[in-house]
């Protein structure tokens, strides 16, 4: 009984948090992109556009869900829901933090801990192609068809180097459960180099981390691999014919995939919630310092140096500063500390990777279809295999030594 209750509660929390993150990831992307491109980004709806995601959802939900007459209705309606289903389902195996004790109940931070977590995520992300391919095909539109074709070819091709890149750290860590994998990466070499997969002996997995990241860009259809929805070539790509919530579902699936993939990268390569340096050297105070610095900056800009022409900043900046300072204080409460600090490290690492996704979008041009295929088959794939072989040798040699 207790188990069901806790599971339900956790599911509710994770689902709520995940959906909010999805919505605000889009806000963050628009803001970051805007500042790269010398614009302001959304700032009309709510303070600094903070309510923009809500406005977008309301706008999309109240639009007419138009089904064109020339489509294959069944698959047309099914496709976006397949996409969003498979995008959201992988979240349930991702561990966000260690097992902690809340109100006397011991529980893991994360929904499920299945012993084949890595395989599960890989399998689900492969099925995710169906949403896009079916959507492109069922739309009965030439642009959509091309988009769907490109996307299925691309995702299947990039699945290979991605899976092989994943296999290398698995050799080092000896388990398929994501929670065990993160626990394996605890500890430090020489007292300060973290034992994350990217640094782990006998063979640091930097190469396989990079391959994983590149494949992740392709898997999530992001620039420079955004060929399926290349606006300047295929208008809208596979979602040309979609409107209203059907379109929102595709949109959500893309961002959900982004978050899942970065969470996977964090758990597998960057040590999940393990801190960057040991807590003896004060790594527990990093969130407090960062949040207080942010609060101080907001106070300073709000009170002493508000941007001209934006009079709300005088009110909103100190208010957010106060919220930041309050959050910083939360990290100092002894009861909450063991829960919040690992969560902070996990979110920080994932956030940095997500920022990288957005940053790349603002900088790079798009690949061409054949170049994309050449890149994966002639470069990424062989490099991933070589990396796997070298890792295997290194692990075997070390095993002999022991």
């Amino acid at each position: 009984m207790n188990f069901f209750l806790i599971s339900l509660l956790k599911t509710a929390i994770v689902a709520g948090a995940f959906m909010t993150t999805l919505a605000y990831l889009q806000w963050i992307e628009r803001k970051v992109l805007a500042h790269i491109q010398l614009r302001l980004g959304p700032y009309r709806v709510g303070f600094n556009g903070l309510l923009q995601p809500l406005a977008d959802v309301v706008k999309l939900a109240t639009k007419e869900g138009f089904v064109p007459s020339h489509v294959n209705t069944f698959f047309y309606v099914l496709a976006p829901f397949l996409a969003v289903l498979f995008a959201l389902i992988s979240v349930c195996v991702i561990p966000f933090g260690p097992s902690v004790e809340i109100f006397g109940v011991r529980t893991d931070l994360g929904l499920a801990d299945i012993n084949i977590g890595v395989l599960f995520v890989l399998a689900i992300s492969s099925v995710g192609v169906y949403g896009i391919a079916l959507g492109g095909w069922a739309s009965n539109n030439k642009y959509s068809l091309l988009g769907g074709l490109r996307s299925s070819a691309q995702m299947i091709s990039y699945e290979l180097p991605m899976a092989i890149a994943l296999a290398a750290p698995l050799l080092l860590l000896n388990d398929l459960s994501l929670r065990t994998i993160v626990n394996e990466q605890a500890g430090f070499y020489l007292g300060f180099i973290p034992r994350w997969s990217v640094f782990q002996m006998p063979f640091p997995q930097i190469v396989s981390f990079l391959i994983f990241l590149v494949s992740a860009f392709a898997e999530t259809n992001r620039v420079p691999f955004d060929l399926p929805e290349a606006e300047n070539e295929l208008v809208g790509g596979f979602h040309t014919e979609y409107s209203s919530l059907n379109f929102a579902a595709f949109f959500m699936a893309e961002y959900a995939n982004m978050i899942t993939v970065t969470c996977m990268a964090t758990a597998l390569f960057l040590g999940g919630w393990q801190p960057l340096w040991p807590s003896e050297f004060g790594s527990d105070f990093v969130p407090v310092i960062l949040l207080l610095a942010g609060a101080a900056m907001l106070f300073y800009h709000g009170v002493f140096e508000p941007i001209q022409g934006r009079k709300w900043d005088r009110v909103s900046f100190p208010a957010f500063g106060a919220i930041f300072a309050g959050l910083a204080l939360l990290f100092l409460i002894p009861v909450l500390k063991p829960i919040l600090v690992p969560l902070f490290w996990f979110i920080a690492k994932t956030g940095i990777l997500l920022f990288l996704f957005i940053w790349v979008r603002g900088t790079l041009p798009r690949f061409r279809y054949d170049q994309l295929m050449n890149f994966t088959w002639k470069f990424l794939f062989p490099v991933a295999i070589v990396n796997l072989l070298v890792t295997a040798f290194a692990v075997a040699l070390q095993g002999q030594k022991n």
């Binding site: 790269i36 798009r366 279809y369």
Partner: protein
């Protein structure tokens, strides 16, 4: 459908007239074999304005604002070409100050046009941010246009026999400032694009056309200069005092999208060089020719002198009477060779105005250029042509 095996069936894709990367309303009918383009047929006419015909109903000075609308990114080049043609018919010569100012501003127009081209071209390739950086610098340039003519886009600053107004206060200083600021910006664009392997792989070796085809179809400007033909009307048929300026005509031999990109980047630098010389050698003196039958008199003169008032009345009510004859004037617009052919029957309205526009010639090569490439190459090739649809359909 049954007799043709599935493997040889082609797909026809209508790219445009509403498509994000056709820059206006061009329609390209693509024959596709998978992703490969087997045939491409550009179709124009969706932006037909009838400007050529409309010119016949207006007096000579009234046509000037229409020429702005032909190529809305190189409006001053069009102004210049028309004005030069009419001046040739009339036998009027603009004073040196007007000539120098015309050179200064048309070179600024070239930079303006190339900036828009660079931004949209990069945007077509997926490099979003370039567009915003280009717009940022174009803003400075449009401010200069606004200072001189009061308009940012449709300037209409040149008049038959000179300029509409003398230089505004601070106009030349603004140009100086722009010349000082802009070279570092060109370097910035080049660092963003030239050091990028994706950009290079997307452009090098893409969109090549045999030189003979280019010439046969009437392509001009950066298109043929990227194919190694150093044809530039500014050098080969100097007009408006270009023989007094020192500049190079950048050429490349690769004849692909990358070469066109390099040629245009280099042209921006050369334009800055010309602008610098024009600013340094800017002569003093009147800004309008001493031709009372053609040039509207100064306001003050009109109010104080009987003769000036009569001329003003005549020009405004009757227009400028142009001696019968025909003339063809060629200039180098940012897109290539721009020609105005004007026939006069002796009245104050042109009998016929024909524009030989560079976009029209350039766009014809699209079919040859896209064949055998991928869809993405079509977009890159179209961007490298730098056409303006208003310029194609007059």
């Amino acid at each position: 459908m049954i007799e043709t095996p599935a493997s040889t069936r082609k797909m026809t894709l209508n790219m445009g007239p509403q498509h994000p990367s056709t820059h206006g309303v061009l329609r390209v009918v693509l024959e596709l074999d998978g992703e490969t383009v087997v045939g491409a047929q550009p179709e124009i006419g969706f932006l037909h304005t009838g400007i050529e015909k409309q010119c016949e109903a207006l007096t000579y000075p009234q046509v000037i604002p229409l020429t702005d609308r032909v190529d809305y990114l190189a409006n001053l080049s069009n102004n210049l070409c028309y004005v030069l043609a009419v001046e040739k018919l009339l036998g009027v010569e603009a004073p040196p100050r007007a000539v120098w100012t015309r050179v200064l501003l048309t070179e600024l127009t070239r930079i303006n046009s190339h900036l828009v081209w660079l931004g949209t071209h990069a945007l077509d390739m997926g490099a979003m941010s370039m567009f915003f950086y280009c717009t940022r610098d174009r803003e400075e340039l449009l401010k200069i246009f606004e200072m001189f003519s009061g308009q940012r886009l449709m300037t209409s600053y040149f008049r038959i026999g000179g300029l509409a107004l003398d230089h505004p206060r601070g106009g030349l200083e603004a140009c100086h400032k722009f010349i000082k600021m802009f070279p570092s910006k060109i370097d910035e664009y080049e660092t963003l694009l030239d050091n990028n392997p994706i950009w290079k792989s997307r452009t090098i070796g893409v969109g090549t056309v045999p030189v003979e085809t280019l010439l046969a179809m009437g392509a001009t400007g950066p298109m043929i200069r990227a194919a190694g033909i150093p044809w530039d009307a500014r050098k080969d048929e100097p007009y408006s005092g270009y023989q007094n300026f020192e500049f190079d005509v950048p050429t490349r031999t690769e004849n692909d999208v990358y070469a066109r990109y390099r040629v245009r980047m280099e042209e921006m630098r050369q334009s800055l060089r010309i602008m610098k010389q024009a600013l340094e050698g800017m002569p003093e003196g009147p800004y309008q020719a001493d031709a009372p039958k053609v040039v509207l008199p100064q306001r003050e003169k009109m109010k104080t002198q009987m003769e000036a008032l009569i001329y003003h009345f005549k020009i405004v009510t009757e227009g400028v009477r142009v001696p019968p004859g025909e003339v063809y004037q060629v200039i180098e617009s940012p897109r290539g060779e721009l020609g105005y052919y004007i026939v006069s029957d002796g009245s104050s309205k042109p009998f016929r105005v024909h524009m030989r526009t560079p976009s029209f010639g350039n766009i014809q090569t699209l079919g040859v250029m896209c064949e055998g490439g991928l869809i993405a190459d079509t977009v890159a090739s179209m961007g490298s042509m730098d056409f303006v649809l208003g310029d194609t359909d007059r």
